[in-house]
């Protein structure tokens, strides 16, 4: 059994792009079923941190652990590729710009990876795609191409695609930032549903209200460090750090 306290554990994460230090010694641990929000201004390193968790942007220092296994462990190249593909199957990721495969229908988007990687038959994969697309309320659009879907629908398909791999952890990188305001709520609803099902999630977002309502804990990042973290009720209403206050104040003004 794994330690409840550290389902996801990031230890002293450091990341530099050349001479630009983007993550400066970040540590974070997330318990199973916990939902952690990450807020912060653009360029503060939120995406980089999220992408380090499944090694899309490999760390230059520090460790990432998932369910007792080190994600970024040192292995010979070939072995590492196998290992990381294995790890990534357990981590779902949702991107700001959906990144749906445009040459595949919603159904094909969802079933491709399970078929390739888990050896599902056509029937099993179709049943899975139907189940997952139903879960995000898009069963009737199952044979549509992404170009025939709205932004909110695309993002829901992207979530279904990630969930089809039965991940242990879901990462959301500004999942609603590219959406027209009226389409945000349908995606948020899907994420709320996941929260109710106790999916472990790390959510980078600019939507403070949403973060406040679903997250157990919120981190405020600035210039590559976690400035402050805590339960949303405290972080949003009574932040201790001046930088957090400043950010929230600006954000409130911007939202008006």
């Amino acid at each position: 059994m794994t330690d409840e306290k550290s389902f996801v554990e990031i230890r002293h994460a450091q990341k530099a792009f050349g001479s630009l230090e983007v993550l400066k010694d970040i540590s974070l641990s997330v318990a199973q079923g916990q939902i952690v929000g990450i807020i912060g201004s653009s360029g503060s390193g939120k995406s980089t941190l999220l992408r380090a968790i499944n090694d899309l942007d490999p760390l230059t220092g520090g460790e990432v652990w998932l369910d007792g296994v080190q994600v970024n462990q040192k292995l010979p190249h070939r072995q590492y590729e196998k290992h990381i593909n294995q790890m990534r199957q357990q981590v779902g990721m949702v991107f700001q710009h959906f990144n749906l495969f445009p040459h595949m229908t919603a159904r094909e988007n969802v079933k491709m990876a399970p078929m390739m990687l888990k050896g599902l038959s056509q029937e099993e994969a179709n049943a899975l795609a139907e189940e997952q697309l139903d879960h995000v309320g898009l069963l009737e659009r199952i044979d549509y191409y992404p170009s025939q879907l709205s932004g909110g629908q695309k993002q829901r398909v992207a979530i279904a695609r990630a969930l089809a791999m039965k991940p242990k952890l879901m990462l959301f990188d500004e999942a609603t930032s590219a959406l027209d305001p009226e389409l945000v709520e349908e995606v948020n609803q899907v994420m709320r549903k996941l929260a109710e099902q106790h999916m472990t999630m790390i959510i980078v977002t600019h939507e403070m209200d949403f973060a406040a309502s679903v997250c157990d804990r919120v981190l405020f990042m600035d210039q590559g460090v976690v400035v402050e973290e805590g339960p949303p009720a405290i972080l949003f209403t009574n932040p201790t750090q001046p930088r957090t206050r400043e950010f929230l104040r600006k954000h409130l003004e911007g939202a008006k």
């Binding site: 899309l56 749906l100 990876a113």
Partner: protein, 218 residues
Amino acid sequence: MGLDFSVVPKYLDIILLGCAYTVGITVAAAVLSFFGGIVFAVIALYAPWIIRQPFRLVAWMFMGTPLLLQLFLIYFGLVQVGIDLPAVVAGIIGLGLHFAVYNSELIQTAILSVDKGQMEAARTLGLSRGEALRKVVIPQAVRDVIPPISNNMIALLKDSALVSVIGVSELTLSAQRVIGKTYRPFEFYLLAAAFYYVINLGMEWVQRKIERRISMSR
């Protein structure tokens, strides 16, 4: 003496046979150049240095020398090392590889311009780079280059006349042979031109069908 097409029917079977050769060679070489183009593109972009460098030399040879020379080399040259190909096969290979190199250039550019998020999304699901290329990146890249590749295929059709130099009786050589018997160059060259035009139309029709099929999925 003016134009007189009354001699045509007598020799039509020879011309039609030539036409069949031209179509067959063009289709086979086109298919080879398409899949070869994909393979070459992947090698050029992703193969280790030790494979990539010699490959670049070969690619340069196919782009930088006359197709005629390449056909001679494949048909007459390879015999010397014990590879004795039928002329039709040598012609298909020569044309196919020649245009594979051109297609590869197009496909390489297209692969590089597929949004990076596509590869990332596929890798995030757990696909290896090779799997992601095969299922996600390359299919999209290929879609993007259907029009320019189609242009290459029209050029391939025209260049297929070159395989006559290694003795394949395709459309142009058939016309020439008939002219040798009838001394009617104008009629039979015009007839050959008409057939090339028809084959062209056929290829454009195929291109349009393909484009319509993929128009939704981009």
